[in-house]
């Protein structure tokens, strides 16, 4: 533990955070194509997660009224997941999708083979819509 490091909580000094391997631990359990477990979803129907070196990219397809809507491919930030899943430390991804009229702050993590996505949607237009949160589940379809 290096006490010269800045911290605002004891967890910031967790020794694993200084391990270079932490960033890429178990990334394989996120990479690939994922389909919504709800075939009638009104949200994101499909997710694809890619990795290039240490960089991650997320593509999404939203359910549209006249067909699928491709979301912009966005770079994701890999975060060490300090929770252990099935005895193994994994990573989570944080990604923001910017549509101009709306920003979707999203995080993704795999839990027991299921991809869990939580979206915080914040409207930037003057439509009067409420910002909202939504959580959906996906299964792997490589």
């Amino acid at each position: 533990m290096n006490n010269t490091m800045g911290f605002k909580q004891s967890r910031d000094l967790h020794p694993d955070l200084s391990d270079p391997a932490t960033r890429t631990l178990n990334a394989a359990n996120l990479i690939g194509r994922w389909l919504n477990t709800d075939p009638a979803t009104k949200g994101i129907a499909e997710i694809e997660i890619e990795q290039s070196g240490e960089q991650f990219y997320v593509s999404a397809v939203g359910a549209g009224s006249h067909g699928p809507i491709s979301w912009p491919r966005s770079s994701a930030q890999a975060l060490a997941n300090l929770e252990e899943e099935a005895g193994q430390r994994s990573i989570a991804l944080a990604v923001d999708f910017d549509f101009g009229f709306m920003k979707a702050e999203t995080y993704l993590r795999a839990n027991k083979g299921v991809l869990v996505i939580v979206l915080f949607n914040v409207f930037l237009d003057q439509s009067g819509r409420s910002n909202y949160v939504n959580r959906e589940f996906y299964y792997r379809r490589d």
């Binding site: 290096n2 490091m5 800045g6 911290f7 605002k8 909580q9 004891s10 967890r11 910031d12 967790h14 694993d16 955070l17 200084s18 391990d19 270079p20 932490t22 960033r23 009104k42 949200g43 994101i44 939203g62 359910a63 549209g64 009224s65 809507i69 979301w71 930030q77 890999a78 975060l79 060490a80 997941n81 300090l82 929770e83 990573i91 989570a92 944080a94 999708f97 549509f99 101009g100 009229f101 709306m102 979707a104 702050e105 995080y107 993590r109 939580v118 915080f120 949607n121 914040v122 409207f123 237009d125 439509s127 009067g128 819509r129 409420s130 910002n131 909202y132 949160v133 939504n134 959580r135």
Partner: protein, 138 residues
């Protein structure tokens, strides 16, 4: 109306327009884990129609006060006016923390995204913890 998914498409009428109710968020939220090494307590306050959050985290000797930040309240859908959670950001200088809270069965499920801005080489991290509203009745 622009949308990225069908659930963004809602009709807003004068009857359904208005701010998101967030009374349920106001108060002191206590971490369910007495051994946490992260955020121990959060105090949500309202003033002038705006919500603010003050956060206290576990330090080596005592709680560390992160100060106060503004909060964006979210509902469970684009048409709802009932609050379901919040999001906010703390700039801690050496690091930035995004907090995303969701209410589930009376518990606040808090996701914390910590990214370091200093040259310590530490990996950013994600953690999820559970908080109960201190009702002061027992």
């Amino acid at each position: 109306m622009q949308f990225a998914q069908i659930r963004d498409l809602v009709e807003i009428t004068p009857e359904t327009a208005g701010p998101i109710a967030a009374d349920f968020l106001i108060g002191t939220w206590i971490n369910s884990n007495p051994d946490t090494t992260g955020i121990a307590r959060m105090v949500m306050s309202e003033a002038g129609g705006k919500l603010t959050l003050q956060t206290f985290a576990i330090g080596p000797d005592d709680l560390i006060d992160w100060g106060t930040t503004n909060v964006t309240v979210v509902a469970s859908s684009a048409a709802s006016r009932e609050g379901a959670g919040f999001t906010c950001v703390y700039d801690l200088g050496f690091a930035e923390t995004r907090l995303q809270g969701m209410i589930m069965k009376g518990l606040l499920v808090l996701a914390q995204f910590q990214t370091f801005k200093d040259d310590s080489g530490r990996a950013g991290y994600f953690v999820r913890e559970y908080y109960a509203l201190d009702h002061g009745r027992f």
